[in-house]
Subunit: 286 residues, 2 copies
């Protein structure tokens, strides 16, 4: 029950990590009611506890849509990492099976295909999907340096190479990140996740100046779902891998805890820089 | 000392693995004298022992060129994996420093840049670089199936997706291989090597039909250096990762031990298929 003219409840389809609760807190601070549907196996129960919420399996689309409707949600945010399920793990309910048929092949092809299809289906079901970054504006990574460490010319050259590589990957709808050291691509991210890629890059690092992590939004990616995210843990993993810094896409990256992120980077002596990929490839300043 | 009109000695710059010795044996079987320069830390001493040879550090370009000239080599084959050195590991000799200056930035940028530059420098030094596959013709992977196992429609779809992804990587001059399962890219190869990527893909595999390894030549790659290679070990690593088969680029892949390779694949129930990437992307038969 919402009063006439009151803002409708913000529905939050919650994957893992701290962001779903942060979106909920930001919306509530802005005077908006929220309702979270935590995806079982991904959403963290303790973080959802302060807010009205329920849990559902990813495959239980019928239950998810019913929960959202029962709680008067019309606007919907999808936020927090969800590992793409195999078709055998999904165990769709009746509604899930119907939706899966509408999504079709895209569900198990490239990431963009799946997320764009999910957003389209939710729109057809009457929901308006908005981006987490539209609610959580203070968490969006800005352009330029965060903190007091800056990349040198060698690190900038590695960033440019990394941007070219991640862009090429993005065109094939896979990966959002790579590690480059001294011009050499040490590691490319597929589905293992950034932290696992960083651990691998640490074992492949060469003597001399350390490498950089480059993490971008895929070209054409629907920013209403699955923005790249970095947090203090990313900085610690990058430092452990011997890296000198992190370049992220300005305006397209969610910072899970900006103050702690910057503190961790300064303590480790790593740079954090928000870049525009196109400007970077054209050889301009970040 | 070579008799007038006799074929000049074939020089072999030998990296790791069995192929340098196989090239030497094939050349000798064709009536040609050979001389191998084994790269320290990469070439296997026991395999080079049956042939006239010497060892040199990769950075000791002066010594390498002198050895090749002293032994009347004019044609030169570069074969066997060599891990790209960091500039600190390289410790170039005087000639090495001079050559490094000629290669310049390419030495530490993309792989193609380095190898093309090395081939160019060797040509300027009076050598004619020929491809290992031109000597070792029976080791070049043919088009179509090797062995009695064939990919099904789902595996073919994974191959098509893998070809598109590896091609995109190749355009950025990085990687030659990936693993795809049920349309999802499990792993992308950077410098960790195919076996390490396969081990990782095994930990990321999903329930249901297993994935495929797709391994291609980079577009525009100089085939006189660093052709992709598969052998019985690749098949064993792919089987351990739960894969259903391997697609390699026909005419551009060296099979290190074809009989053992096919035997290993049949024992593990894996398909081995030589594909033309362009035809595959156009949806044609392999």
């Amino acid at each position: 029950m919402t009063a006439p003219g009151a803002p409708v409840t913000l529905g939050i389809l919650a994957g893992g990590g701290p962001l779903p609760a942060r979106v909920a807190a930001a919306a509530r601070a802005a005077g908006r009611a929220v309702f979270l549907v935590g995806l079982e196996g991904f959403a963290e129960r303790s973080l959802l506890a302060p807010f009205p919420h329920a849990f559902a399996r990813l495959g239980a689309a019928g239950r998810i849509l019913a929960l959202l409707r029962e709680n008067a949600c019309r606007d919907l945010v999808l936020v927090g990492p969800v590992k793409r399920p195999s078709i055998l793990d999904l165990r769709p309910d009746v509604e899930g099976t119907r939706i899966l048929a509408r999504i079709g092949r895209a569900a198990f092809a490239g990431d963009d295909g799946l997320l764009a299809a999910v957003v389209r289906v939710l729109a057809e079901e009457g929901f308006s999907v908005i981006g987490a970054h539209e609610i959580l504006t203070e968490a969006v990574g800005p352009r330029g340096l965060l903190g007091g460490v800056a990349p040198d010319a060698a690190a900038m050259a590695d960033i440019v190479r990394g941007v070219a590589v991640v862009r090429a990957l993005g065109i094939a709808d896979v990966g959002q990140a790579c590690v480059v050291q001294q011009g050499i691509v040490l590691a490319l991210e597929a589905i293992e996740g950034t932290d696992a890629m960083l651990a691998r890059a640490g074992t492949l690092a060469r003597p001399g100046p350390g490498g950089v992590l480059v993490k971008l939004v895929k070209p054409g990616q629907d920013r209403r779902a699955d923005l790249p995210t970095i947090g203090p843990g990313t900085v610690r993993a990058a430092a452990a891998a011997g890296l000198r810094g992190i370049a992220f896409e300005a305006g397209g990256t969610l910072l899970t805890d900006r103050a702690a992120l910057v503190r961790a980077a300064e303590e480790a002596g790593l740079f954090l820089t928000g870049i525009d990929p196109d400007t970077t490839l054209q050889g301009g300043a970040t």
